[in-house]
């Protein structure tokens, strides 16, 4: 602070004496406050970046999968040694398909499987191909039985251990017996990679497969379908119920002790830990109503209960934001209260309601705890054909993979997190766009 301003009267007449109103101090306070704000945001961004970095750096490899291009001979001696497939279709289902894949790899490596001396090599080679080849080759043969007797090139998945080693996730410098992949197998892997038969391809299986105990054939397919079913049920149930409840409370209900109590309860329910809704779901939907365990229908119902308070609170806020003049004008020109609500108030509040609904849905999409008790934290391989069938959900799949021992599941856990974050981002961006597009300001 300079002396001139603080000592009035020293310079006679020419300058007016100034009162100290602390302008500099106030500017400094403002600058400080801005700095704190910036600091707060940077800390937030720093943690976000840290999270993204840790997830993406670990997870991006999950979107690629090591596969081997093998000439598979669909030998009749292995698939149908007794030549009875015409009368007994079961033969094609039960045949020893993994052996076809193994023999294909042996042919590629130039090892004779019939030579007794090679037994150890044959075993080691067999472990390089995923056991998922059974289903893959079976589907090929069942779809087209004329393949039997022919040799065609097929992309077969490499086993999880080979996949992890090829991606550099296994420390190959430790002694051989401490790792899941032997020196011989690493040598074969490098040889096949040089020939171009063993390559990393885009991992479509991550999106299409169901749960699996083998990392290479594990995917989030069933989880995505289960989550979609649940979101659909939540949307179809929670939106109309929530909107109807809020309209009644906001526009029609008298203000008395009962409605006050309801309001307090709704606000309370919004803060209840989600596991409580799981307990409720177990007691009401499964034990009392007899709905099947692990079904996405029950999951959807539980999540509906959980999302309802969020939607009601958001909807009531949106309805409150519509200016009373609009209501007065509508009533003034002779509209009934119902007409006022449905013709004027609701359309104007719609963007706010939709935003609230989408945020509620996004919250429900990321929920695991209530699903634990109704049996959706489960190992589900087959696709659910309806909401009544067992299924699991995306966050549950992440939780289950995080607990797996195999190395291959580490990248898959992060990969699944990236997928979930993608869905959440899309939903939240939609909410923002809807608000931008339809929001009215008065």
């Amino acid at each position: 602070m300079s002396d001139v301003t603080t000592t009035p009267g020293l310079v006679s007449g020419t300058t007016q004496p100034k009162r100290d109103i602390g302008i500099k101090k106030r500017y400094a306070a403002e600058r400080r406050f801005k700095l704190y704000g910036l600091l707060a945001i940077s800390i937030g961004i720093l943690f976000l970046l840290l999270l993204m970095w840790s997830v993406i750096s670990k997870g991006y490899t999950a979107f690629q999968q090591t596969a081997i291009n093998l000439p598979i001979t669909f030998s009749e001696d292995i698939i149908d040694p007794k030549k009875e497939r015409a009368t007994n279709p079961q033969v094609l289902m039960m045949a020893n398909y993994p052996r076809l894949a193994r023999d294909g790899l042996l042919a590629e490596l130039g090892i004779d499987p019939t030579d007794k001396k090679n037994r150890k090599l044959v075993r080691a080679a067999g472990k390089m191909v995923s056991a998922g080849s059974r289903v893959q080759l079976r589907e090929l043969v069942v779809a087209d039985p004329s393949l039997i007797g022919k040799t065609i090139p097929v992309w077969v998945l490499a086993s999880g251990d080979v996949d992890s080693a090829f991606k550099g996730q296994v420390d190959l410098s430790v002694e051989e017996k401490r790792r899941k992949i032997s020196d011989q197998q690493v040598a074969w892997m490098n040889q096949l990679a040089e020939d171009g038969t063993l390559v990393k391809r885009f991992n479509t299986g991550l999106f299409t497969f169901g749960a699996s105990s083998r990392p290479e054939t594990a995917g989030v397919g069933v989880a995505i379908i289960g989550s979609l079913y649940m979101m659909l049920i939540v949307l179809v149930l929670a939106l109309p119920i929530g909107v109807a409840a809020s309209i009644y409370l906001e526009e029609f209900a008298p203000k008395n002790r009962w409605t006050d109590m309801i309001e307090v309860n709704i606000n309370n329910l919004a803060a209840v830990p989600s596991i409580v809704f799981g307990l409720l779901g177990l007691a009401v939907f499964i034990n009392f109503a007899g709905l099947p365990r692990s079904a996405s229908l029950v999951g959807g119902l539980v999540l509906t209960l959980m999302t309802l308070p969020t939607i009601i609170i958001a909807t009531r806020a949106a309805l409150k934001a519509v200016p009373p003049s609009i209501r007065a004008a509508a009533l003034g020109v002779g509209a009934s209260r119902t007409q006022m609500v449905f013709h004027h108030v609701l359309p104007l509040a719609a963007p706010g309601i939709l935003t609230g609904t989408i945020i509620g849905l996004a919250q429900a999409l990321g929920e695991t705890a209530p699903l634990l008790l109704i049996g959706m934290v489960a190992f589900v391989v087959g696709y659910p054909s309806s909401p009544m069938d067992p299924a699991t959900a995306l966050p549950v799949q992440i939780f289950m993979w995080a607990n797996e021992a195999e190395r291959g599941f580490v990248e898959r856990t992060s990969g699944a997190i990236i997928i979930l974050l993608g869905f959440l981002a899309v939903m939240n961006i939609t909410a923002i766009l809807l608000r931008r597009r339809f929001e009215r300001r008065w």
Binding site: K180, R214, P240, R293, G375, A378, F379, G382, A402
Partner: protein
């Protein structure tokens, strides 16, 4: 809005109707997280080998949680099989019977070893139950008196052990593993050290002395891990002088990061556990609701498939994952008992 409400109403109505009427066509399993990986492997292979049956659903939730669901009653909305890393308790059998689950078949699938492991770059650990007890018990006997555990370093316990601060990550009290840890290490170590006798001479009855033996120190040197072994691994990863307790299968899958400790000079592996030389092992079980056999399609076949040598034999996928196979005669006996319908 109207159509939406109608659809909602229809959905709820149809769900309530079909739900009550439909029987299940898929085996449902819940229980121990130790048995879970094995059950998953079997369920998946079962679905692949028998395409006419749907792949069973396997839930986790812990041994106690699984048995609780199991004992909820009989009928398609209850589970068929409970996986367990310990044998069923009397109280649970009683709870089952109260809800009409009177016919339970017990199936022993093999053995699991519990190992101590440190970071791979650490020194060798050669433990005995006595060392573990002296390092981790809450009270030990010094000069004939029970005092709060004074040991700070492993070398205080036994001069042959490394000069590391004691930090051990042990299974939390919810885990079935904890029971084995208490019975096979702390209690035996307590007896070997002679502390149990001192407790009893000091006026405790046998039960109280046993309880005093298995009390774990709470000063932060023994850390309960309530999560899975993945969490234990992460702790050992970040604290290079920490000692973690793992299942054998988990250790074998991460042997490039961990170094295993010997107990009584025996290195844990499938052979030493099968031979009974390695002291810290336990049997694994699952329990089948007999009333559901023949009602739920695939249940009988699943159990038969699980107990077959191609799944739990010495050269099977489960053995490869880390299960210690039961001896040949025991496996035959398991299969016979199931076929004869032997009950608990």
């Amino acid at each position: 809005m109207k159509t939406l409400t109608y659809t909602a109403a229809m959905l709820v109505a149809s769900a309530a109707l079909t739900g009550a009427a439909s029987a299940r066509d898929q085996v449902q399993i819940a229980g121990s997280s130790t048995v879970l990986p094995y059950a998953k492997i079997v369920a998946e292979s079962f679905g692949e080998v028998f395409p006419s049956f749907k792949t069973p659903i396997v839930e986790s939730g812990g041994s106690s949680g699984g048995l609780k669901e199991f004992c909820r009653g009989v009928g398609p909305q209850t589970i068929d099989i409970a996986n367990s890393s310990r044998s069923i308790r009397e109280s649970e059998i009683a709870a089952c019977a109260e809800n009409g689950v009177t016919e339970i078949q017990e199936i022993r699938i093999g053995y699991d070893g519990i190992v101590f492991a440190t970071d791979i770059d650490g020194p060798d650990f050669e433990l005995t139950p006595k060392d573990v007890y002296l390092a981790l018990a809450s009270q030990i006997v010094v000069d004939g008196k029970a005092v709060a555990n004074p040991n700070v370093k492993w070398s205080d316990v036994n001069p042959d052990l490394p000069d590391w601060d004691i930090t051990a990550y042990i299974p939390g009290e919810k885990h079935g593993t904890r029971e084995v840890f208490e019975d096979k290490l702390l209690e035996i170590g307590c007896e070997e050290a002679g502390d149990k006798q001192v407790h009893m001479d000091g006026g405790m009855d046998k039960k109280a002395a046993g309880k005093a033996c298995i009390a774990v120190r709470k000063d932060g040197r023994a850390v309960d891990i309530d999560g899975d072994y993945t969490e234990t691994l992460a702790r050992v990863d970040s604290n290079k002088t920490g000692v973690g307790v793992f299942g054998l299968a988990f250790y074998e899958n991460n042997a490039d990061k961990l170094k295993v400790a010997t107990v009584n000079d025996v290195t844990p592996d499938t052979e030493t556990i099968a031979a009974g030389e390695y002291p810290v092992s336990r049997p694994l079980f699952f329990y089948v609701k007999k009333a559901h056999l023949g009602v739920i399609p695939g249940l009988k076949e699943y159990v038969e498939f699980f107990t077959s040598d191609q799944m739990i034999g010495p050269d099977s996928p489960l053995a490869e994952y880390g299960l210690v196979s039961a001896p040949d005669e025991e496996r035959d006996e398991i299969r016979e008992n199931f076929a004869d319908g032997k009950l608990l």
